[in-house]
């Protein structure tokens, strides 16, 4: 038998049926649902009179549209001021009730961003297929699972059949060798990779991340890497499970127990790429070349190190790229060759499924402790990824550190990552953000996003501009 990649193995394990037209029916182990991309899928089931195939494989929670102010949340759904958001969140709730699907509702302690909560509950496990109507489902690939974002029609398909019709992707391996410098986080690694391979660099591929710098990461760091595989164009990012993974999962609420745990670990260990497995595409990067990253443009590939500057139009060799560059500069209100550290900042956002876990909050708090945010800032926001992250942070006194420095401490949700609720940028405001997309208008109409790591965002809040955290006190 020929050598297989991790992705090949995950794929093969889940094939229910290969079809003559080149597609396969793939079994789905876990399905996450949220309020924005599911209502039309449930409506579809209703119209066609279909049932949910296996309710116990689903887990739902509202996150995209929820208010993050404690006061607005205190009276539950009834207290949500935006009637459209309220209707969506109510709709999720009634759909889950009608179909017997577990929901962590608005005021459940475990509610939060789906991609933070799934792993936190031990729901995301090695060797599984995991889907959600959200492109950042790639996050769960950090557990050695095949995790992919799907559209609403596919959400309906999974609800109705527990399967997806797919064609296999190609294999890509990204290796990060050596060790990162202090102050360089998982976020910087993935941003740097996207800067090199581009936002379409992984299109049509499942990306496996490997190498010593990836293996050295905690599960939370690995999730940050896989989270942004989609920003590199890949539907799925995967990291082989190892003892770090198993230790993280042990005793989590949805992790297997007892005899099942032992069986599971044996099974999980088989999900690694064979030594001589062939990849269609490879990319290698030295970890020690990576410095803290900052995006300057309107696509995650428009990124540079903190010691760098915005490029010049002549740095691009084709007209389409030059035009994209001009559009981005105009939108961002920056000039050619402007130093990253000279970008003015108006707001800081620490949160999102990329960087709102406890380690992210610790890294940010370490920069902030005993200091005050710059007076020039309009707002600095910390939005924990889940109720459990929030409680842990409170337990460690991090909320106090943030609050004393002048940050607002909020309730969990997607918040300013996509600004569906009230948390958003004003026109022309620059934001240092730990989220994953710097598209035009993403964080608010006319808002200007700079993607960075939690420590970089926190230091920027104190200094009022980007600073190189490797040399900053």
């Amino acid at each position: 038998m020929s050598a297989k990649t991790l992705y090949d193995k995950l794929w093969d394990f889940h094939v229910v049926e290969d079809r003559p037209d080149g597609t396969s029916l793939i079994y789905i182990d876990r399905h996450l649902l949220h309020e924005v991309t599911s209502p039309q899928a449930f409506e579809g089931l209703k119209v066609s009179g279909r049932k949910v195939y296996r309710p116990g494989a689903n887990l739902a929670m509202p996150d995209h549209n929820v208010p993050t102010l404690r006061q607005e949340r205190s009276s539950g759904i009834a207290g949500i001021r935006d009637p459209l958001a309220k209707l969506q969140i109510e709709t999720l709730h009634s759909n889950c009730t009608a179909h017997g699907i577990t929901e962590f509702d608005l005021n459940d302690k475990r509610q939060g961003i789906v991609h933070v909560v799934g792993p936190e509950q031990g729901m995301s496990q090695p060797g599984m297929t995991i889907v959600c109507g959200d492109s950042h489902t790639s996050t769960h690939g950090a557990f050695g699972a095949l995790a992919q974002g799907i559209g609403t029609s596919e959400v309906e398909h999974v609800l109705a059949t527990q399967c997806l019709i797919q064609k296999k992707s190609k294999n890509m391996l990204i290796e990060v060798t050596g060790h990162t410098a202090d102050g360089v986080s998982a976020k910087d690694i993935i941003l740097c990779i996207i800067g090199r391979i581009g936002t379409a660099g992984g299109s049509g591929h499942a990306i496996e991340f490997g190498g010593s710098a990836i293996q050295a990461l905690s599960m939370e760091g690995r999730m940050t890497i896989c989270n942004m595989a989609i920003e590199a164009g890949a539907r799925a990012g995967i990291i082989a499970a190892d003892t770090t993974t198993f230790e993280y999962l042990r005793d989590r609420p949805y992790a297997p127990r007892g005899r099942e745990w032992d069986m599971a670990v044996t099974h999980w260990q088989s999900f690694t790429s064979d030594k001589d497995a062939v990849f269609d595409k490879r990319f290698t990067i030295q970890a020690d070349e990576i410095e803290p990253q900052v995006t300057w443009g309107t696509s995650p590939q428009m990124v540079t190190g903190v010691s760098g500057s915005v490029p010049a139009v002549d740095d691009f060799n084709d007209e389409t790229s030059r035009e994209s560059f001009r559009l981005a500069l105009k939108y961002m209100g920056l000039v050619e060759k402007q130093a990253v550290t000279d970008i003015p900042l108006d707001r800081v956002f620490i949160g999102s499924c990329t960087n709102s876990r406890i380690e992210d909050l610790r890294a940010a708090a370490a920069m902030v402790e005993g200091k005050k945010i710059a007076r020039s800032l309009r707002q600095a926001l910390v939005v924990p990824g889940s109720g459990l992250v929030r409680d842990q942070a409170v337990h460690e006194g991090l909320d106090h550190v943030f609050r004393s420095a002048g940050f607002e401490w909020r309730e969990p949700g997607c918040s300013m990552c996509l600004a569906m609720n009230e948390d958003k940028l004003g026109e022309r405001e620059h934001c240092a953000s730990t989220s994953n997309r710097n598209f035009e208008g993403r964080q608010g109409y006319g808002g200007r996003t700079h993607l960075v790591s939690p420590a970089m965002a926190a230091a920027a809040a104190i200094a009022g501009r980007f600073v190189d955290i490797r040399h900053w006190r």
């Binding site: 887990l59 549209n65 492109s135 974002g149 299109s203």
Partner: protein, 222 residues
């Protein structure tokens, strides 16, 4: 789903790379629980000069007359010509819903983002991939003759421009059939229900933990 077999329409050139789904349909319009009604907000940030909100009367908003779909020759365009990596970003199917609601039935680009590409086929939209050199030529032709039209024949996988040049495009058999027949793929899949059951039975025996239900336990109020 409406089938796609043949289509004739005006080709609107949207000369921009990496158009993301936030740009196609901004988040403030994703609060709807329906599949329709997104057309008026397609490319909202590019089409209008102000910030759009769901409850607004779009007829009263200031138009960006430079934007291609606002120009008289392209208001009725049903085919979009664009650059690489179209539809990148969020998986929101509201993007193809908005395109379809506006009247777009086909999109021509050198490449598409994976999830968006896939979502098109579920909604009767044909994404056509052509070589970058051909795309360059089409943009030049569109610039020199506004109102360029195209005849698309999915059965033959061919597109004939009003310049009489013909190009063929690739497409998977399955996706082609879905579009041609306007297939409901859930029905198709449920024909394999026996296979799905068998898969579950075998796996349940050997890997029981994969089937542990995600129980609610009791809701933990904060």
């Amino acid at each position: 789903m409406i089938p796609f077999i043949q289509h004739h329409g005006i080709v609107a050139p949207l000369d921009r790379a990496n158009i993301d789904t936030d740009l196609i349909i901004p988040k403030q319009f994703l609060k709807s629980v329906r599949r329709t009604g997104f057309g008026p907000h397609l490319f909202d940030q590019l089409r209008y000069l102000d910030e759009g909100r769901p409850e607004m009367d779009n007829d009263k908003r200031p138009l960006n007359h430079d934007f291609i779909l606002n120009q008289p020759a392209y208001r009725d365009a049903t085919i979009l010509l664009t650059r690489e990596n179209f539809g990148c970003g969020s998986s929101r199917e509201h993007a193809p819903w908005a395109l379809l609601d506006f009247g777009i039935r086909a999109i021509i680009a050198p490449s598409f983002a994976d999830i968006f590409y896939n979502n098109c086929f579920k909604n009767g939209i044909l994404p056509i991939i052509l070589d970058t050199e051909i795309i360059d030529r089409l943009f030049r032709e569109a610039a020199s003759q506004p109102g360029l039209t195209a005849d698309i024949d999915l059965t033959r996988q061919s597109i004939v421009m009003s310049t009489l040049k013909e190009y063929s495009f690739p497409i998977d058999d399955y996706q082609k059939r879905c579009l041609l027949e306007g297939l409901d793929d859930i029905d198709m899949t449920l024909k394999s229900a026996g296979r799905i059951d068998l898969y579950e039975q075998q796996r349940r025996q050997a890997y029981p933990w994969l089937f542990n239900d995600l129980h609610a336990k009791t809701s933990i109020a904060r």
